[in-house]
């Protein structure tokens, strides 16, 4: 289809508008993280371009240097909480891959009694809002003496990421020709060997997409993290960052910096794996 110059110009204008809508709020947060506290308190707002720097970021690496009392506590906790988040979200992704691959394979390849009810049970479990599960989950985790542990957090996240992983892996396995795996089985591979050597490499984009979605969901969670964690042994970054945001005495520039630090891992993932994510989202939702 040929487009006129006017149409192209209009579309580029639209593209600029969308970009501004996305970039302006976020850039303001980024910019704030480079500013000095005394500069952001000035009314009317102006940006002291000459005095932008990494001082806030330095304060997070060496929290003793900070004067704000409450701010320094949260700042001290930020980097350890990022590590906690990485562990919890990474473990969630890993568990998802193992369990989701096995179940996804069964739905893609096998016919068995109870197949549809089982699939509906998985998908239906996502219909229940987290807030309805949190009290009994809390009581269960407490009975098991697993409160305030990253392991309990990862297993909790597994429950609300697994249905989507199973659904996604089912779809990815279904488009791989069955002849590949039949040939491997005929050649004398055992089922686990065939999975490991043939099917999983062929489904690598699906595995990557599933892992990314599980990681993001776990990274983003606040509700479960705030109820199930209590100390820095397991506090994740959203809990620490929410502590910044709801504390009026915190310096605004430190708060912005904490927010940016919490965004870096998921943002990098999103921008580096753009194609995988877009294909995964579309494949998960739109099926012929």
């Amino acid at each position: 289809m040929r487009q006129g110059r006017l149409a192209t110009a209009l579309m580029m204008g639209g593209g600029v508008l969308v970009s501004l809508y996305v970039l302006v709020p976020f850039s303001w947060l980024v910019l704030t993280s480079f500013m000095r506290e005394s500069d952001v308190l000035v009314v009317p707002l102006h940006v002291n371009w000459g005095d932008l720097g990494l001082h806030n970021y330095r304060a997070f690496i060496n929290p003793q240097g900070i004067t704000a009392v409450v701010g320094s506590r949260a700042a001290e906790n930020t980097l350890p909480s990022i590590l906690n988040s990485l562990i919890a979200a990474g473990a969630t992704a890993l568990l998802n891959l193992v369990l989701g691959t096995l179940a996804g394979y069964s739905f893609a390849r096998l016919r068995f009694p109870g197949r549809m009810p089982l699939l509906l049970m998985y998908l239906g479990s996502r219909m229940v809002p987290g807030i309805a599960l949190i009290v009994p989950m809390y009581l269960t985790v407490k009975t098991l003496h697993l409160l305030d542990s990253l392991g309990a957090l990862a297993v909790t996240y597994l429950t609300f990421t697994l249905p989507f992983t199973i659904w996604l892996m089912k779809g990815y396995f279904q488009v791989i020709p069955r002849s590949m795996e039949e040939a491997a089985l005929v050649d004398g591979c055992s089922w686990p060997q065939m999975m490991w050597k043939i099917l999983l490499p062929a489904a690598a984009p699906g595995l990557a997409a599933s892992a990314i979605f599980a990681f993001m969901t776990a990274w983003n969670d606040y509700l479960f993290a705030v109820i199930l964690t209590s100390t820095m042994a397991s506090k994740t970054v959203p809990v620490v960052v929410a502590g910044f945001a709801t504390d009026v005495t915190t310096e605004r520039t430190l708060m912005a910096t904490g927010g940016i630090l919490a965004v870096i891992p998921p943002l990098l993932l999103a921008l580096l794996c753009q194609r995988l994510i877009v294909r995964g989202l579309t494949a998960g939702a739109v099926k012929e």
């Binding site: 996305v22 089982l118 606040y222 998921p266 579309t282 939702a285 099926k287």
Partner: protein, 319 residues
């Protein structure tokens, strides 16, 4: 969700046809193998979703407040009756309805407009397609923090911008004024969630056969008519998924609420989820809290069923 139905066991179909349609095969090791593969997932889901659901139904039928932990008395549906007749519930239901209605509507419209734009080719379209992943990647807590900073009553960028443009004469406390607080909450949520809708719509738009547009144009359709009679029907299924996903997300919105308004000012942004949270974790009233949570679950199920009935059948023969 249609994939599951399409791939339902093809009992009685000839083997050759079954192969061609890539339907499931009979397991070499029998059904036991399939259940074995599902065993870990079933254990996790039953233990951490199934059991809590039943447990909280049980809790919702009891008087159970952690402030008086010795009392655990069966009260039947009394908790539900208490909630249904309370003014707090009516207010929370109204707030939830307003938030969900506007959030879902704006996300669908914005997602659709952005998708219609980005499914075309123009210089720079690839960059914009990448940029819309930024809001998607930002955790809701950070999104709340970002907008809180923008809406700040004394030194916020929103006030500075609007005053510089001459739209307001004095700085406003955006989050301390009920209608503004609701609008601010909705627009922050929309910013975070519109990319998923846009991406799903782009995916659906790319599947529309281009011949249809050519045929339509030959028949003398205007572009608006092409959109109305070709694009929109083809989007049916994606629309259903976006509506269900976004309605579920809006009904259970929590993180951004916690950071941005905490249900305030007053009860202006106290949704059902927030009321559940307050009842459960501030009043420590687990009985009423569980009943509240169940009401949200029920509303989610009713709305999803409604969407299915209205949209699913209509889009069925078009996909």
């Amino acid at each position: 969700m249609r994939g599951g139905i399409e791939a339902a066991p093809l009992i009685g179909a000839p083997a050759a046809a079954r192969q061609r349609r890539r339907g499931p095969i009979v397991a070499p090791h029998g059904a036991a193998f399939a259940w074995l593969l599902n065993l870990p997932s079933i254990i996790v889901i039953l233990a951490l979703v199934g059991y809590p659901i039943l447990n909280s139904v049980w809790l919702s039928l009891h008087r159970y407040n952690l402030k008086r932990p010795r009392i655990f008395a069966f009260v039947g549906l009394q908790n539900y009756a208490d909630i249904a007749s309370s003014p707090e519930f009516a207010s929370a239901l109204w707030v939830t309805a307003i938030f969900t209605l506007f959030a879902v509507m704006i996300i669908v419209l914005l997602g659709l407009v952005v998708a219609l734009l980005l499914s075309r080719e123009f210089p720079g379209c690839g960059i914009v397609r990448m940029l819309i992943l930024i809001p998607w990647a930002i955790p809701p807590v950070v999104n709340g923090l970002m907008w809180q900073w923008i809406y700040d009553p004394k030194i916020g960028a929103m006030n500075a911008l609007l005053k510089a443009l001459g739209i307001i004469t004095e700085y406003q406390g955006w989050l301390s004024n009920p209608p503004y607080a609701m609008a601010g909450l909705i627009s922050a949520h929309v910013w975070n969630e519109f990319p998923v809708a846009a991406i799903l719509f782009i995916g659906a738009l790319q599947r529309v056969p281009l011949e249809l547009y050519d045929a339509g144009r030959v028949d003398g359709c205007r572009s608006w008519q092409l959109f109305r009679h070709i694009t929109l029907p083809w989007l049916g299924q994606a629309l259903l998924i976006v509506l269900i996903l976004q309605t579920m997300l809006a009904l259970r919105v929590f993180d951004i609420l916690y950071v941005l308004t905490a249900g305030g000012p007053g009860t202006a942004t106290t949704t059902l989820t927030w009321a559940t949270y307050l009842t459960t974790f501030e009043s420590l009233d687990f009985g009423h809290g569980s009943a509240y949570a169940y009401i949200i679950t029920l509303i989610t199920l009713l709305l999803s069923t409604f969407y299915f009935r209205v949209l699913y059948r209509r889009s069925e023969f078009e996909t």
